[in-house]
Symmetry: C3
Subunit: 349 residues, 3 copies
């Protein structure tokens, strides 16, 4: 059994990645070609011409659709063949599998499971995206050669920051604060508040707090199976903990979207929203660099871990206290994957 | 079962490739070392010393034969050990498998099957090779990482030219001419005539046709299992279609010899004969460049196709009308391979 | 069954390789991390944190031991976890396999088998190491991508010198001297004496022999399963063959220590002792270069042989007279490996 849930929206490509030539990406183990059809709608097909299996990414975009680079067969966004050079009859088997696509938040989202269940209402929700007073760092992408579950654990786990991110965002003082956990059907959140402390050096760079003390909240949300949201709030000490008050302080929302490429590699998309220094491009560029470097530090660990796990044939020998939230997240994903497999088995009867 | 017929002559190496050091090439999955014996005769052995299996390509050519680079055992062209340093007795197992070799058309041809069936009368025939009034572009070689059947199909298929060879020989106008097909026991030919049309821009560069109209013939021969001949004729319109008249026009004969390296890669040898611009080296060099580039365009498609087919576990999902000739060619090859396997099974009983 | 004997000391790393960061090397198929504990003692652990299997080579050396780079777990030299950040209880499964280590001759020796059998008395013995009047070229290391048995055979085999080492130490005249052989429980030795001959050109460079004739001895010892000692003696002709007299001449002792990395690659450590030109660094550097080049010539052969053997599925097709000593050595190793396997099977009952 694979470790992937299929009946889900996954980040397929940033809209900025989809241009004048067919764009190829392997998703949940399948080769996918993504392109705009003649009407400008983004479409996704399996990246294999049904004739002799030449990848359609080697083709070109024409007025009628995506044209194979070998014999010129043209396919529309639904995967139907609409033209065969030198031949009038289109054989019924001249079709390519197509995948539902939705566009939102600058991203093409793909549904790799049963097409009839691809409901746009199930797309992820990103509060404040596009809102006035919020600044976006978008289009983040890295390739992480590790099973996505290793990355899920990493994203649910504030404890590794001290050791992995020494060079970037690590903070020795953060070592032993107690972490709480809550869960719903959709997500799990691990969080902690640092009450009544002085603002961090970076917070001081952003805003003059005078001698005011702050409360600092760190929320690590994981939306099953593929989205992480880290919500970092610095607010005046003692204020009531409401969304409205959160937004009165400094707020950073960091999103990651994990799309399994194969069982041993993951597309790691990210974006960041903040409610301060709106329009400050220099700050955005600096932050972009810090994030990229930080995620590469994680990638190096995840990659080495994957090799080691592949060789050992197990993922873990011993559980620690810090594994509580990641373990719950992995159990939720596991249940989701098993339910899908069971439903498929029933359907196949 | 492999996809190779073994009781056939295959192109092993251009004579120009065989020099003062042993030459190694994998053929039909087997490592082969090719060299000239002390009398100058080209020989081929399995590329493994029988002692500890060191490749004989790491050895040297001596007055007595091919000497292994590890302990100095010397083998003659028939694979018999003729010298062991420090030892008088030659053990009976000190032999290497040898393969029959024939030299013709600047090429060493190898017979990978039963040696007693290696009849020079079965060598390919190349009309006009070495004839006065004909110019040769020889010694063409490329490595195509694809099963040879993908290349057979490509060589039987004029339809891909429009799409794959846009940058080189492609010609949009050629799109929809009807193609005819004939076959014998040995070969299959797909061809078309364009009657009574103006000469092509390239033909005009070669010869001044005035306002004369021409007939243009394209013949795609495939000699089972490994030789392609493309015969392109531009002759005065209306002339009777005889060999003699063909040679009065402009004639291009392009040959390819496919030698499987493994199930996923092929040695692609080529040569070209023309009956015009004899002795014009500049023209030959220009044409050499065009051919090389054209075949590399094919290689890129074939290579991507092979990866895709390997992953899918099938070669083709749907057949088109243009597949008629290639399908016949592949069926003939398949029959040849199955007959060999059946004969082997009988022999083994 | 693997080809490795486990209850043996193997060269793991030169002490000079073990510095301020954890040192990783694969030994007998297992990933090993080598480091100095806070007291300076060299330790070796399996290179996998028991938590999520991150290689410990990605960690750092701290005052308490080796700290994992992911969540900061700290392990002592015995593989016990001594610290988990943010957690007081150390789970019983938070342990890493440790391997006995001994330090001698500038080398860390590792015992990959049953720890209770790791007796320092079983360490290799290197006469004259560190003695006055003897000069050391130490710290030699090469990676040879071949099963160690191919290298054992090479080291027992003077005959290949003429063919493999043409560019370095080869000597055509040495071709056909008779070789004798002796064996004990621990080692086998193949040797020959060249009596009453003029000194070699190199010997003349080292010492002025006038018109004195010399006896020249070549002893190829192999200590089962992993150490080779080549003892080359040039002494005045006719002197009695005693250790004392050997040392009165020119004497070269070349040691190699073979540590299997995997079934297809070997760590090749070497050192050299001589009783002349003591303190002559220029001579040492020159010799170092000759040795490195010579062993790389062997490596190229061994590497090609391994590929060939892997493909053929056998190591040898025919035995020669020169294989006598190597064959005995391999039989001794084979018996050792089988005895270990049998003892393990009994223990497992």
């Amino acid at each position: 059994m694979s470790s992937f849930a299929r009946n889900q929206w996954y980040a397929a490509a940033w809209l900025s990645e989809i241009g004048d030539v067919p764009f190829g990406r392997r998703i949940l183990g399948e080769p996918v070609v993504i392109f705009r059809d003649p009407e400008g709608k983004i479409c996704a097909l399996m990246d294999r011409c049904p004739h002799r299996l030449v990848p359609l990414t080697m083709g070109t975009l024409t007025e009628r659709g995506l044209q194979c680079g070998y014999h010129g067969m043209v396919f529309d966004g639904g995967g139907r063949c609409v033209h065969i050079p030198g031949q009038d009859m289109i054989p019924p088997r001249a079709v390519v599998r197509s995948y539902p696509i939705a566009e939102r938040y600058g991203m093409a989202w793909i549904w790799m499971g049963e097409a009839e269940r691809a409901d746009p209402a199930l797309l992820p929700h990103i509060p404040h995206y596009g809102d006035e007073g919020w600044e976006l760092i978008g289009d983040g992408y890295q390739h992480h050669p590790s099973n996505y579950l290793n990355i899920v654990e990493n994203l649910m786990d504030p404890a590794h920051t001290t050791f992995v991110h020494k060079q970037t965002i690590g903070n020795p003082a953060a070592k032993s604060e107690p972490v709480k956990m809550e869960k719903t059907d959709d997500y799990i959140v691990a969080y902690r508040w640092l009450h009544n402390s002085p603002p961090s050096p970076m917070d001081k760079q952003i805003k003059d707090f005078g001698d005011q003390q702050v409360d600092r909240g760190q929320f690590f949300y994981y939306y099953i199976p593929s989205m992480s949201r880290v919500d970092i709030i610095t607010m005046p000490a003692g204020l009531e903990k409401t969304e409205e008050n959160f937004n009165k302080g400094l707020r950073n929302n960091s999103y990651k979207f994990l799309t399994p490429e194969t069982e041993t590699a993951t597309h790691f998309f990210w974006l960041h929203l903040r409610n301060y220094k709106v329009g400050d491009r220099a700050w955005s560029e600096r932050m972009h660099g810090v994030f990229e470097k930080t995620f590469l530090e994680d990638r190096d660990i995840e990659m080495a871990m994957q090799c080691s796990q592949d060789e050992a044939g197990v993922r873990q020998f011993v559980a620690l206290e810090i594994d509580r939230a990641p373990t719950v997240a992995l159990r939720m994903i596991d249940r989701m994957v098993r339910n899908e497999a069971a439903a498929e088995a029933v359907a196949a009867e």
